[in-house]
């Protein structure tokens, strides 16, 4: 996953919001990152710090809310927790489990001033 471009996407959303809502600085940026989205929160933080330099989000704290993965097993048809896309079903050990949750990558909210 390309955290650099994604970090730039986050910054763009923050800047759009600053334009629309009239704030000068973003202090905290809250992201929702699905466990199956393959975004590495640490890499994301590193990249965001880099792209935010010289912008209204410089030094902003990135908070990541991890959303657990979830899927429907096509073998036993149960809804099951899913740690990785290619994991077997924790209920029956079968494949495949179709991911139904935990793939999101969203900017949830900001603390601004």
């Amino acid at each position: 996953m390309h955290e650099m471009a994604l970090a730039e996407g986050v910054l763009q959303i923050v800047e759009d919001a600053a334009g629309a809502q009239g704030f000068a600085r973003a202090k905290i940026v809250v992201l929702e990152i699905g466990q199956l989205s393959a975004v590495e929160p640490e890499a994301m933080r590193f990249c965001f710090d880099a792209v935010a330099r010289g912008t209204l989000a410089e030094g902003a704290q990135l908070e990541v809310i991890a959303v657990p993965g979830e899927g429907v097993c096509l073998n036993c048809h149960k809804t099951v927790p899913l740690a990785a896309l290619y994991d077997p079903c924790p209920a029956c050990g079968g494949y495949p489990v179709q991911a139904t949750g935990g793939t999101e990558m969203r900017v949830k909210e900001l603390e601004v001033e």
């Binding site: 390309h2 996407g9 800047e15 600053a18 334009g19 629309a20 495949p96 909210e109 001033e113």
Partner: protein, 342 residues
């Protein structure tokens, strides 16, 4: 720099043109006021793409502490040149120091997805069947394209967008087959995005009812996340890469509709279990279609070109339907008008 793959947002070139990526710069005046400026205009006729980070909105901080921002998303295009930083001006927020929460709830990729939707609409209107070819470097994308073009060019119009970090070798290889091709160089960027492709489409102007191949940057990771507006992603896995790749790089195989297993002419020489590779890929993506091909021997090309022709036929049929629907609507409106005039 991206800690995952070592890439960074760099300046992008289309057909070697347009360098200055629109990097705004900061001026600090003697009174302590700082402004950032959009760069000077690009060279006439230049088409430049500035990925985020290069062309982001700018914050101006004035001496009174007020700040306003400009939205780079409103980049205006005219006469083949793109200007960033002239978007709708943002709000003034003098003296705001109270911390508050702002709900956003926006997908991080929403900007890209907006551009992708625009590309997809264009493809639908023109009956263009667009494919995004993704794979690791050297799996045979360009070789496969050249052979596919040789097989199909007499029967249907084809155009190609080539993405590589550097060089226009691949676009030249495609042009040698006699079809139009446009090279995007992503600089340090490790994937194509929908905005770059939208710009390329304007220049390339693919014909109505044509097949459009978009060869992505060789990279099994980053291109998976970026919708370009294509009908399908086609993942190419060559038999020299090992059958574990779909498990090691699941996102790409999950995003694809079709997996081409290329270089099957080499199967006698490598320990590659095709069935295992397919099973691994379907663990990640149960609906994945698979075709085995060799871009050098032509094995499997009957099936592959049939897949392409079916896809294109479906896309054209959809366009015809839309046109027919419009005609019907016009006829209805004309009947209404005629009724009103009476």
């Amino acid at each position: 720099m991206c800690t995952t793959c070592g890439c960074a947002a760099g300046e992008t070139r289309i057909e070697g043109e347009a360098v200055d990526a629109g990097d705004g710069h900061w001026h600090v005046h003697a009174d302590g006021t700082a402004h950032s400026h959009a760069p000077a205009h690009p060279p006439a006729g230049g088409l430049r793409y500035a990925p985020r980070g290069a062309a982001h909105g700018h914050a101006h901080r004035h001496a009174d502490g007020s700040v306003h921002t400009h939205d780079a998303a409103g980049a205006a295009a005219d006469a083949g040149a793109l200007h960033y930083g002239h978007g709708p001006a943002g709000a003034h927020a003098p003296g705001m120091t109270q911390a508050r929460m702002v709900q956003i709830e926006r997908d991080i990729l929403s900007k890209n997805d907006g551009y992708a939707d625009a590309n997809r609409k264009r493809f639908a209107e023109q009956g263009i069947f667009a494919l995004n070819l993704v794979s690791s470097p050297g799996s045979g994308k360009t070789t496969l394209l050249c052979r596919s073009i040789e097989a199909l060019r007499e029967r249907l119009p084809i155009a190609v967008v080539e993405g590589d970090q550097q060089t226009s070798y691949d676009a030249e290889r495609i042009r040698a087959t006699g079809v139009p091709a446009l090279q995007i160089n992503t600089g340090k960027g490790c994937h194509l995005d929908a905005h770059m492709v939208g710009q390329a489409l304007r220049k390339l102007a693919p014909a109505d009812d044509s097949l459009l191949f978009i060869e992505n940057v060789g990279n099994l990771v980053c291109p998976a996340a970026f919708d370009l507006g294509e009908a399908h992603k086609v993942a190419i896995l060559s038999v020299t890469e090992g059958e574990d790749k779909p498990l090691k790089y699941p996102d790409m195989f999950r995003a694809a509709t079709l997996m081409l297993i290329n270089k099957v002419d080499l199967l006698p020489y490598v320990a590659f279990d095709v069935e295992r590779a397919v099973a691994h890929a379907r663990r990640v993506n149960p609906a994945l279609q698979v075709i085995r091909v060799s871009a050098t021997s032509g094995e499997g090309f009957g099936e592959w070109t049939a897949w392409l022709e079916n896809g294109l036929a479906a896309q054209r049929a959809q366009k015809q339907e839309t046109v027919a629907a419009l005609r019907r609507r016009i006829a209805e409106l004309e009947a209404l008008l005629a009724g009103a005039a009476r």
